[in-house]
């Protein structure tokens, strides 16, 4: 019987097969913005920790416990997120958040369970969704093509906070958030990620689109 060693384990992020795929080849005669700059670059930051958290936002112990572990307060204003370092907490609903973090999902879940008492739900969804950063001058237009949400009213938030929304993205869904550097983050579901990537390449034709994945 052959025994498998841990180091032979391979993992694939949802956009694994889209590593460096473009709407136009590098040698394409079509130039964007005067050079080979693509109007939309979608970079997957995959294989990170994503936890779904549910709990009672009116429970001060719950809020305090989460803040102690996460190092950042849970956002309670609809359509906002808070971040500190690598940890980002997105508001999804009055009793629901999603946490992205560079730490280990199981460890973070254990810490939260240790710190918070009472009725909560913590679910590891790291395998089910992925984070994609969209940058480039064509991104505002791509967002207009993808969603009926008015991203134009988003203005810069205070330090450590930003805007986010769960909305339709083409015919899939996504959590969309603004970043301080002017780019946008998408959190999309794994099973829809091929569709979203194909859609981005197609919708990005006008300005050129490249997908990067690790």
């Amino acid at each position: 019987m052959s025994k498998l060693r841990a180091e032979t384990v391979t993992s694939e992020s949802p956009l694994h097969y889209f590593s460096k795929i473009s709407s136009h080849s590098e040698g394409s005669s079509q130039l964007f913005n005067g050079d080979l700059e693509f109007g939309v670059v979608a970079k997957e930051i995959g294989l990170g920790c994503q936890l779904n958290l549910r709990g009672d936002a009116s429970d001060e112990h719950f809020l305090a416990g989460a803040e102690v572990v996460l190092g950042v307060a849970l956002p309670t204003v609809p359509g906002t997120y808070h971040y500190s370092g690598d940890t980002v907490v997105y508001w999804l609903g009055p009793n629901e958040w999603v946490i992205t973090s560079a730490t280990d999902a199981l460890g973070l879940e254990a810490s939260l369970r240790l710190e918070i008492e009472g009725h909560i739900a913590i679910v590891d969804v790291s395998g089910g969704q992925t984070l994609v950063n969209l940058r480039g001058y064509g991104v505002p237009t791509i967002l207009k093509k993808a969603s009926g949400y008015d991203f134009g009213i988003w203005t810069g938030g205070p330090p450590g906070a930003g805007r986010c929304v769960q909305t339709t993205f083409a015919k899939a869904t996504a959590i969309v958030a603004n970043r301080t550097n002017g780019s946008f983050d998408l959190i999309i579901r794994r099973s829809f990620s091929d569709y979203v990537a194909q859609w981005l390449l197609d919708a990005g034709q006008e300005v050129g689109c490249r997908i990067e994945s690790s």
Partner: protein, 1005 residues
């Protein structure tokens, strides 16, 4: 070919840029800035099409979307577009155009020879003639379509791309004429987000053809200045070539932007058209007005045009469509056309004014030039065949109802007519606002606003230049204020415009003839569909009174111009025939689209592989690489079967099924819905959702359950596992996942908020590989060392945490095949890795990947139902012979329980799930086949039920079927029949629905 009608003055065109094009196969040349219409007129092309019913030669009549005659097929092959108006097609190098009407040619028309049929084709002709016999309608329709020439759609798929954009703005200004431009400028200054859209190639609207001075500048210079100002605002989006074609609820408007249509196929890159779906806080409508033609005899002969169109061709395009002009008018405004014509050095033979004693500013200017003005006269008939040669003019009474003197003949080759202006109230009408007739301006005005919009300028019935500018500025400022920007006070100084004093116009909708309307030569109201004044009067004589009925009976306004030219005249003639006023007669409601919109733009990029999302599992690429055929299950692509070289589907399914029964198979079960449930009341909640109880389900254990809707009917099924105290994992069907999650949330949030429980979808998080078959344990043992796989330690319907192929996994001993099964769940990132390791570990047992088809056969052999296939929303657990899954002694009720006691739920003779075994073992029944007791019973036969699932079972060596049969559970051994469409009937015996291993020994090992 020389452009015989081209003027030295260029207007808005560029005479240095020649553009070649073809029309009906002939080569022509136009210049940059031309429309197809202006280029054809420049080349002296008189006949551009044939009319719909009478096949009369028709020429270019207008200059915009109101054009009824110059309807063109543009381009060829896959990119060809039917039914464009030549007045709206910008000329480009290499443009190919042909008339959609007029087979085989516009100048020699077969239908024209039989045009005398016109007399035999009264309104309602089609209804009256082609109604019977009904079966011939298809033949009639082909004939009518061919003769009418409605253009042809491309037969290849569309090579162009189309974009859709969702836009949001504070103020949307529709129309970039004078009122729209100042409205946009006022709104822009407040900081509001402004979109201004206009259907023409450049902003300016009527000013592009105007000789007026504004602020001391020529009209076009003034437009350039204000357009430049708008461009300097970064909160303004300017959309030329963009038609706002629909105004929908909640201030949602749709704009069709023609991005590259004007460039032709060769040079275009980027999308052809872009649809903007706009949510606007406030809307300013500044859509202008349409000139009304006068209705007189033979007013459709080429060379009869709108007065404003003549001026537009002269001033904007540098084209004089003729030499000797007769102008027929009811108002001062049209005198401008006489002035424009005179100043390019052509002859104005006469102005025929229906009024007596006109003396407005423009009239006096014309009079001072020595141009003959025939006051109190009507132009009663045009004479000519393919071009106007003469105008018949006669004095008419003051009411404009009778010819009162002798007819005078005037030689001419161009007749311009004006019956006043109709406000373009279309978009306002889309909102549901009911237009209001105003005798003072002889036009409808927009009705009371139903949405956050206001009209300004000519579309509001304000036809004077200065008044329109004031209205526009006020509307822009007001709209911005209501959207939360600015004070509502106009900031920019009012533009300086010379006020022109005009005398009142006359309301004249039908110029009288010396014969009665029914006897006079045709006086056309709707050119596109050949509706004449006599036709409308006849409709009234035949008893039609409602404008809506008359429209449909005569086809008034049913062409692609949607009556922009003829509707008001038609309604007025109808009102007169009914002896009503126009307000009483009412107007028809305009509906979207304002102008025809391509399907491509509506579809956008939701086509081909992006029409519907395809959901893939983490193992999808492996399936593709290994030759899987796929099946759509909801939006998922699931492997259907894995054919090897030269295998038929049946051979594949036989091989896959036998592999599972005899050794081991592997299935990608990732797509099953998975819901994580946590909370102290989780077990109680789950127990209320399923028919059976989960209160005593221990950690490490699984249970199968069925969910009912309130009506007691099965709507989903699956296994629920207890992960730990207060923590459960619920599996749903693949297609039902989203519906079940909503169902749980609905009941928790609305009915049982006191139950502390949270739900989270984990469908995408887990990749699931099902390893099943007698050798399954041996395969798992090779890749999993930390779970005791012995059947005493890890039995059927247990689950364990462990490590599979180096990955933390949850392993469930649940089975949909009836064999020893392990469902291995790992986070999806590791899905392909674990799958490949399982394949490798199973290679010594010839592990066989199988798809959904084999899965269906295997579960049918065991009599396991598929919700949605064997059930259809009208089946109770008892119907499925599954009373064992209903907990009779649960403390709290469960959803659907009460309905199980309804008289209908417990009546005898309900359809019940049974097995069917065909007497001929190899005959496979058709799924959906009806079941009867006596195949020879005369129709209608008594239906006993239907086949829900049917396959050939390789492991059993005969076909099997599941069916629902009335009272079937008490009919074991009966022979029933399934009649087929060809008249044959297949005999089958009713048997137990469990064909294979009825004691369940094989899954319990």
């Amino acid at each position: 070919m020389i452009q015989i009608n081209r003027l030295p003055a260029a207007g808005r065109t560029d005479q240095n840029k020649a553009l070649n094009f073809t029309f009906n196969g002939k080569d022509y040349q136009g210049i940059a800035g031309d429309t197809l219409a202006s280029a054809l007129l420049a080349n002296g092309v008189d006949v551009v099409g044939r009319s719909f019913k009478y096949a009369r030669p028709r020429g270019i009549f207008g200059h915009g979307p109101e054009e009824p005659n110059a309807i063109m097929q543009i381009g060829s092959g896959a990119s060809t577009i039917p039914n464009l108006k030549a007045t709206q097609v910008e000329l480009y190098e290499g443009l190919e155009a042909s008339s959609v009407n007029g087979w085989p040619s516009v100048n020699f028309d077969v239908m024209g020879l039989i045009g005398a049929f016109g007399r035999l084709m009264p309104p309602g002709f089609y209804y009256k003639t082609f109604m019977y016999p009904k079966k011939l309608w298809m033949t009639y329709e082909r004939f009518i379509r061919k003769a009418a020439g409605l253009g042809s759609s491309p037969i290849e798929s569309d090579p162009d791309s189309y974009e859709k954009l969702n836009q949001h703005c504070d103020v949307l200004v529709v129309g970039a004429g004078p009122a729209g431009l100042v409205a946009a400028r006022e709104a822009a200054r407040t900081g509001a987000r402004v979109i201004i859209a206009d259907e023409q190639s450049e902003f300016g609207g009527s000013l592009l053809a105007s000789t007026q001075l504004i602020d001391g500048l020529s009209a076009t210079q003034w437009v350039a200045e204000i357009t430049g100002e708008l461009a300097a605002f970064n909160n303004v989006q300017r959309l030329p070539r963009s038609t706002v074609f629909g105004y929908y609820d909640h201030n949602f408007l749709a704009i069709l932007e023609r991005v590259t249509d004007h460039l032709g196929i060769s040079t275009a890159s980027g999308p052809r058209q872009r649809m903007h779906r706009v949510r606007a806080s406030q809307v300013v409508l500044a859509t202008g007005a349409f000139e009304r033609p006068l209705v007189f005899a033979h007013n459709d002969i080429p060379g009869v045009m709108l007065a404003s169109s003549v001026s537009t061709y002269v001033n904007r395009f540098g084209v004089a469509p003729g030499n000797k002009l007769v102008l027929a008018t009811t108002n001062d405004n049209a005198y401008q056309t006489a002035l424009d014509w005179h100043y390019i050095g052509r002859t104005v033979v006469a102005v025929v004014d229906s009024r007596t004693g006109p003396n407005g500013d423009l009239v006096e200017q014309v009079r001072a030039l020595g141009i003959q003005i025939l006051e109190g006269h009507g132009l009663i008939e045009a004479v000519g065949s393919k071009r106007v040669r003469k105008a018949l003019v006669a004095p008419i009474n003051i009411e404009g109802t009778k010819v009162t003197g002798s007819v005078q003949v005037i030689a001419c080759d161009l007749i311009a007519s004006s019956g006043g202006w109709s406000a373009a109230i279309h978009l306002s009408s889309h909102t549901g606002a009911k237009p209001v007739w105003d005798d003072a301006i002889v036009s409808f005005r927009p009705g009371e606003s139903k949405q956050k919009e206001r009209s300004a300028g000519a579309c509001r019935g304000t036809f004077g230049g200065l008044d329109g500018l004031l209205e526009g500025a006020n509307a822009g400022a007001e709209a911005a204020k209501l959207a939360g920007f600015g004070t509502g006070v106009v900031q920019f100084p009012t533009p300086m415009v010379d006020q022109i004093v005009e005398q009142p116009q006359q309301a004249l909708f039908l110029v009288p003839h010396n014969k009665t309307t029914s006897r006079a030569p045709s006086q056309f109201v709707d050119f596109q569909l050949d509706v004449s004044a006599a036709g409308i009067e006849l409709a009234v004589l035949e008893g039609f009174e409602s404008v809506e009925h008359v429209k449909r009976y005569t086809a008034l306004g049913f062409g692609t111009d949607q009556g922009k030219l003829g509707n008001i005249n038609g309604m007025a003639i109808l009102a007169n025939a009914l002896d009503q006023d126009i307000a009483e007669t009412g107007t028809t409601i305009f509906r979207p689209s304002y102008t025809p919109t391509t399907f491509g733009a509506i579809a956008g990029r939701d086509i081909n592989h992006l029409f519907d999302p395809e959901r893939y599992t983490a193992m999808h690429r492996w399936h593709v690489e290994n030759g899987a055929e796929f099946e759509n299950v909801g939006q998922w692509k699931r492997p259907w079967y894995f054919p090897q070289a030269n295998e038929t589907m049946q051979q594949t399914v036989d091989r896959e099924g036998l592999a599972v029964r005899n050794s081991v198979g592997i299935l990608d079960a990732t797509t099953l819905g998975k819901i994580d449930i946590q909370g102290p009341d989780a077990a109680e909640f789950i127990t209320r959702m399923y028919t059976n109880s989960y209160l005593k389900l221990a950690p490490g254990k699984c249970r199968y359950g069925v969910m009912l809707k309130e009506d007691g009917m099965i709507f989903d099924d699956g296994v629920c596992a207890c992960l730990s105290e207060n923590h459960y994992l619920m599996f749903t069907t693949t297609g039902g996942a989203a519906g079940v999650l909503s169902w749980l949330e609905l009941w928790q949030q609305t009915e049982w908020p006191e139950l502390q429980v949270y739900f989270t979808s984990v469908t995408d998080h887990w990749a699931t590989a099902t390893v099943t078959g007698p050798n399954a344990r041996k395969v798992i043992a090779k890749v999993c060392q930390d779970i005791d796989l012995a059947s005493e330690a890890f039995g059927f319907m247990d689950w364990r945490d462990g490590t599979v192929a180096g990955v933390k996994a949850r392993v469930f001993r649940i089975s949909f095949t009836g064999e020893l099964s392990y469902e291995i769940n790992v986070p999806a990132h590791y899905g392909r890795h674990v799958w490949e390791q399982l394949i490798e570990a199973g290679s010594e047992f010839n592990i066989t990947p199988y798809g959904t088809e084999t899965m269906h056969v295997l579960r049918a052999e065991k009599g396991f139902i598929i919700v949605g296939q064997d059930t259809d929303g009208s089946m109770t657990p008892a119907d499925m012979n599954m009373n064992w899954v209903v907990g009779k002694n649960k403390v709290f009720s469960f959803i659907g329980k009460r309905s199980l006691e309804r008289s209908d739920s417990i009546r005898e003779n309900r359809k019940q799930l049974v097995g069917l075994k065909t007497l001929e073992p190899n005959a496979v029944l058709a799924e959906g086949a009806q079941i009867v007791n006596d195949p020879n019973q005369p129709i209608p036969m008594a239906m006993q039920g239907h086949v829900t699932s049917s396959y050939y079972s390789a492991s059993l060596g005969h076909s099997i079927a599941l069916a629902v049969v009335k009272g079937g559970l008490n009919r074991m051994g009966d022979v029933v029949y399934c009649p087929a469409a060809d008249g044959s009937a297949t005999a089958a015996k009713i048997v137990s629905s469990v064909f294979y291993d009825p004691t369940g020994d094989r899954q319990h090992v």
